[in-house]
Amino acid sequence: MKKFRMITFTSFNAFTNMALDEAIMEFVRKGISQPTIRFYGWDPSAVSIGIFQGVRNEVNLDATKAAGVDVVRRLTGGGAVYHDRLGEVTYSLIAPLDMFPTNIIESYRVICDDIIFALKELGIDAVFSPINDIIVNEQKISGNAQTRRNGILLQHGTILYSVDVETMFSLLNVSNQKISDKLIKSVQKRVTSVVDQTGASMEDLQKALVMGFKRNREIEFGDYTDQEKSRAQELVKEHFKNDIWTYRL
């Protein structure tokens, strides 16, 4: 079994966070970096949109600008996400594709099971909700997204620690149709958080997630390499902070 490098929680800006994922994918593909699980936060707060989403459709750009919230397009599909600076833990898992089920939904399930285990450690009874969510009593507590490129799988996702729904929905343009389809009257009732469910601290959540991701893998703790950090800064300029990428749809 290949050993994973685990990088504990550190906060970066949105562009660096997404660039680190891509840089690590490149170095894992070249065999230079180990398969990696990283935990991180977003400073400043940010909105990330899915690779196929229209930024103007999904994001209230006047509101994000006024609030000093960055907007970044991800490499992965899925929906727009508000990443509160203090309100969530995000993880990325980057590994050769052959370490995970070929079936996309099954690979989501395998990785999400680690998060479900972590939440259970905190006393939260969560379940996987295909395609890519983890829910507690029909409320979303974790959203996840995946891409597969050149034989490498990247799955990243958020675990909501506390949720400021008013800010979240002031920054995102949420479709009324999406809400009504889920038969939920209040937008606020669509999401929940660790704080809503239990008295666990942010540190407790981070520790539980480390346990969850460690339980079926050989892990050694590490840090970003200088090569990865350097390549990430190139990708920030070329790609993630470039309007051609962000506003391409």
């Binding site: 899915g50 690779i51 196929f52 989403q53 229209g54 459709n57 992965t76 599909g77 899925g78 929906g79 727009a80 996309i104 939904i105 395609i131 890519n132 997204a145 995946q146 891409t147 597969r148 490129r149 479709s175 149709q177 999406k178 389809d181 749809l249």
Partner: protein
């Protein structure tokens, strides 16, 4: 020339923005669906741009499925039928 947009909720959201006359001049396909490999979407958009309006659904279904098959692509959260049916709706 007409410009029209439509958003439909399937398992995931799909939005089409279309400019058309007697054929599709410009098409944008967006949403929170998943497609692996992602580049396949550009090929689908390219295939559907320029086709005659009203669209011929059967032909477009076949051609779009062919693009997915030839790229060994996996579309999750929406289907080819969802795209083509929505395209028909938005150009009516």
């Amino acid at each position: 020339m007409k410009t029209n947009s439509i958003t439909r909720k399937f398992e995931k959201m799909l939005r089409l923005d279309v400019t058309y006359t007697d054929h599709i001049e410009n098409l944008k396909i967006t949403g929170d669906f998943f497609l692996d490999p992602e580049e396949t979407l550009d090929q689908i958009v390219s295939e559907l741009t320029g086709v005659a309006v009203p669209i011929q659904k059967d032909i477009l279904l076949r051609e779009t499925r062919y693009i997915l098959d030839s790229n060994k692509a996996e579309l999750i959260g929406i289907t080819v039928e969802d795209i083509i049916n929505t395209l028909e709706e938005v150009t009516q």
